[in-house]
């Protein structure tokens, strides 16, 4: 681990975040959704349903924590930019660590802003915070895995949309009234954002176990893709 290289990556990515319109749009997406849902609930004179807060949380995790590193790595892969300073596995890991730290910090900031807009701070507890941190690392791993794997920016969009709809926005299924016996509901119940809802509803240890399985699986995928990518440096 080289602290200078991690700091340098954070320095570069901060500039990249705020000059890349695609990244800026992703950053604005969760607060915009939060404002939209909040205003709709307010104008209907209703309290915001908790499930909508989890939809925004899931959107933040998929749009920011997954999609931003995914897009940045895909662009670097397409233009061969990774080779600018990355020549060894150690360099790749230092860059990856720097990008991960910044992405997690930005995720935290956007979540706080979005939840604040929706006036949903009441949902947070120590347990949910723990679950959220695990979920954030899972979504980050998904972004790093697909990002290092994607050769083109166009393919990264496909990966990004899949994660957004199938893993990020899954709580929206709750509003479709599919019934608990439906296969879709069953599968959705295994997704990371659903585990956050389960933690919020005091479902015991099981959500943490499922999150741990997700974490192990995605960490393994990142380890695999780092090894594969090192060969081409």
């Amino acid at each position: 681990m080289n602290i200078y290289k991690i700091q340098a990556t954070i320095y570069r990515d901060i500039r990249e975040f705020f000059t890349n319109y695609a990244v800026l749009t992703l950053l604005l997406m969760p607060p915009a959704m939060a404002a939209l849902y909040g205003t709709t609930a307010q104008s209907a004179g209703e309290k915001m349903p908790d499930v909508m807060i989890f939809v925004v949380l899931g959107t933040t995790l998929s749009a920011i924590t997954t999609n931003i590193p995914l897009m940045l790595y895909a662009e670097e892969n397409e233009h061969g930019l990774l080779k600018l300073v990355t020549h060894t596995r150690q360099d790749l890991l230092n860059g990856l660590l720097g990008r991960s730290v910044l992405t997690l910090i930005i995720t935290g900031a956007v979540v706080i802003i979005s939840i604040f807009i929706m006036q949903g701070m009441h949902i947070f507890s120590f347990q949910l915070m723990t679950g959220f941190i695990l979920a954030a690392i899972i979504f980050l791993n998904l972004g790093l895995w697909t990002g290092l794997y994607a050769k083109l920016q166009s393919t990264s969009t496909v990966y990004g949309v899949i994660v957004l709809f199938f893993l990020g926005m899954t709580p929206i299924i709750e509003t479709l009234n599919l019934g608990e016996s439906s296969i879709i509901s069953g599968l959705a119940g295994l997704t990371p954002v659903y585990q956050l809802m389960a933690i919020y509803n005091n479902a015991g240890i099981m959500p943490y176990v499922i999150l741990a399985v997700w974490l192990a699986l995605t960490t393994f995928l990142v380890w695999m893709v780092v090894s594969k990518r090192t060969e081409t440096l």
Partner: protein
Amino acid sequence: MEIEVKNLTGLRSDEKIKMTAGEVLAVQIPYERLEVFAETLQNAGVHVFSGSLLYYKRMNLKVHIEYLRKWYNSPLKTDDLVRQFNITDVSTRLSKLSRAEIQKLTYIHALLSNNKHIVFIDPFINTVNDNIHLFHKMKEQLVNQGKSLFVAASRLEDAFIVQPDVMKLTEQGLQVVETADNTEEDSISNVSKIKVKANDKTIFVTIEDIEYLESQDGKTYINLGSEKFVMESTLQGAEEQLEAHGFYRCHRSYIVNLHKVKEIITWSKNTYSVIISNPEKAKIPLSRAKFNEIQEKLVKL
């Protein structure tokens, strides 16, 4: 650091290329071998700068320098580098800058790199004269930093821009570029054409169309714009034959048509080039000893 020649040529050889701290090597390598050369040296842990300019298009030059400085934890200062490399526009994103401006970043990158062995591949193709001066500035600083610099050029004349002592990569390894032999030839004056060979044809070239002649591997080549022919004569013979037509032996391996000379450029205290007035602005090496004489000849022409 030592690189085995057999890895570059694919042929059996015990020769090794030695990259020594504080030393510069200028080597002519055939174009078709440059890719293998770059790959081999990269795998050996050398920092290779190829012709392609890899940088973040949305960031400006100053942010790039600062990023590289931080990445390598270099003691050099960003503002000093900006001044030293004449970077006037620090705020425009790279996508809007010219290739020549972006190329300066590769020189700065080489200085900031913590790798002790630096390789540049064809650094003078599609470049401007100001950048060649900056390249020399970088070269001196790399030597002062105790780094080794290896410049691989597909064109012999480009290798001579780096320094007067040039080598070439052959199947046997690195060899000093030989001087033209001094075989006596009959002097022929009052001729307007000379005989050259192109495959199975014999072509008669008008002397005033010739831009320059060069000697490589014991053969004499005539350059006419985009065409190149082998001449049935040694360089010494060609010199005697063409002297009366305004040709001048500006280097051990080069004869230049003075009528086609556009300018002379001094890259460093030992390196000079004669610039030919053609679309490529070909840079022909000029020996230090000939620097004054060629000027006199050009004035009197």
